[in-house]
Symmetry: C2
Amino acid sequence: MSLDSVSSLRVGIAGLGTVGATVARHLLDGAVSNVVVTRVSARDASKDRGFDMQNIAFSADPLKLATADDVDLVVELMGGQDGAALDLVRAALKAGKPVVTANKALVAAHANELSQLSANTGGAVVPLAYEAAVAGGIPVIKTLRQGLAGNQLQQIAGILNGTCNYILTRMDEAGLSFEAALQEAQEKGFAEADPELDVSGVDAAQKLSILSALAFDLRPDVSAMAVEGVERITEQDISFARQFDCVIRLIGVSRQADGKVYQKVTPMLVRKGGALAEVSNELNGLLFTSQPLGKLFLQGAGAGGGATASAVLADIADLARGDGQALFDRATADMTASASHQAPESEYYLRVGLADKPGSMAKATQILAENGVSIEEVVQRASNDGDGFLPVVFITHEVDESSLDNALKALQNEKNICNGVLSLPIFAD
Amino acid sequence: MSLDSVSSLRVGIAGLGTVGATVARHLLDGAVSNVVVTRVSARDASKDRGFDMQNIAFSADPLKLATADDVDLVVELMGGQDGAALDLVRAALKAGKPVVTANKALVAAHANELSQLSANTGGAVVPLAYEAAVAGGIPVIKTLRQGLAGNQLQQIAGILNGTCNYILTRMDEAGLSFEAALQEAQEKGFAEADPELDVSGVDAAQKLSILSALAFDLRPDVSAMAVEGVERITEQDISFARQFDCVIRLIGVSRQADGKVYQKVTPMLVRKGGALAEVSNELNGLLFTSQPLGKLFLQGAGAGGGATASAVLADIADLARGDGQALFDRATADMTASASHQAPESEYYLRVGLADKPGSMAKATQILAENGVSIEEVVQRASNDGDGFLPVVFITHEVDESSLDNALKALQNEKNICNGVLSLPIFAD
């Protein structure tokens, strides 16, 4: 509650790419009261970044920010899961200096060490703020920690990767193939040259693991999470989904039920009209379910210089106001281990390559029925890929995951009638 | 940043209706760490409210909470713009006790006095938190103050009244008349027995005035705000709007441009697909535009026991963590006075009652043209009300407010061709 209005908070920024330079410009323009930029570190000292470097010290070595006497708060915007970014954050926390970072890969991968350093260095909390690490400019960390404080979280469902969402939207709205949509995303700056981390779902999983830690006290561990990317989604799936009045979205779901937390990143069918179905193009969106509030939906820019800078500035403002918190409420050693749990019962979209010959459909539906998978709707398209197999889509009634898995295994064992299955849960909000 | 984990924050709750009882129950269940409920005040001491009163002191007089030694934080949930609620909040702040309230009418009407008391009582800030006063469970105050800290706000556009939104949604989706939709809202508990404050737009205006104070440093003054309610919206308007692929929503807009802040509460046409158009039934939704973030959209329950309790709990958690703020960043005496400014240029929906005789349309369009109002689309319905006038709808190109006002005055002066005009801005997000 107390704010020392005499001495300003002296900020050191490591990394002056688009985000870093935007943050510096806004701070120099007085965007946050009682904050001054005293030192920066970047690859190139001389580059013009649209702000006056005259009163700002420059360090070629970012590590210097952790020890420099003129820096109270370290802002890490270099990126990278390890290397210089990790060295800097680690050193700053050890020196008792608060850190603001936008680096989700680093936070997710080193949660154990960083939670310990930030929860207790020299007997005190050293704040580590990372609003920008999840969903860019949407204040999702603050919403979980402050806006929903006092609530019991039940579910988080989020569109956490703008690249995938752009691709899926363009496949739907412009009829593009996955490859064409990806290329367009790259041309527009919504996808990296190497899109692997995005399209594989790993980037979304890193973000979801951070949200699950805050909401459900779950130790971040991406390797323990079921993660399916968008690479297997075809134009055919998009078009089938439309037929069921749905769109396909890559969704990270984390849900607590019966004392267990289930979490997964996967493409899902979302019924049009639902909040997440309306999240288009490169936007991110999150739907929280909690008691006593009920549902809360947030949507905004999940990446880009302005959005990321916004979240970094908000974290700096918190710290300037004296409101800083450890990475999580406790060291991850004291949190619940991530574990693989059965998915909650769900309806599913099943696209099955079914042999174009008499008896295939009868056999397939028999296998599904024998395994307890009950069918709500079937759509069969006349066209086939010329290999003697037709794409057939089944919409199932609610079914538990193990029954579904058994059914799909049995189906895929019948190689003469089935040449592959794609199963996508149908999102129920 | 420091939290005294030894001594708990002792909370006194005045008002044990649905919200107060829900807050008490959650606090007693340990929803917020380091908080205990020590004292309550309500009309009836003996009523069973679903929690154990055994260790909680009871005061028949709510004012006692301001002075009681066992209360550190006063939670005002009695409601009412003046009277006991005002007495209590005033006394608590004067006694240096932080206050949490859900009372938008009180905050809006007494902003001057309360901002002064909370910004400086005995030389210190006495926190006054009111997350629940605007948009219920949506953490909109925290988003403005923390999530968007460091941003330059440009526009806030919000659906801030669930009653009006329910009525407009049901008129559209179920084809109900205004009266039937209002009655349904009352039966479902989404509207008060006396709905005047809601349907007139005043409730939304009170909330908007609070948001404008936070975002644009504008002194709250509902009487200086242009406010139009939903009473004049007919089934015909809803159906015309649908024809233009729009819905009608009651929107509070506050917008800063050229150093001036324009604010208004009015029904507007919103194009389907836009975030605010998707806010249905009793929900609230807000669209913030700011730099460097861009757009941020929030949607959730704007009223009801659970939603309001959620926001109150979040405020209590802030205070328990040691993060409390004055009502506004400064006393309202030092803020900019609300003033009436020209609306930004906008497209408009004009429903004109036009005489069903030759030359009416020519005359009407001539008057519009003479006043600089250029028409994008016209729709004329065959049916008339039997009074010799036909409803005709004009969609205008962007036009400034004074040109439009002049045109509408001139049109309404031609009593032989025009028997009334309804003009609604078309929302541009």
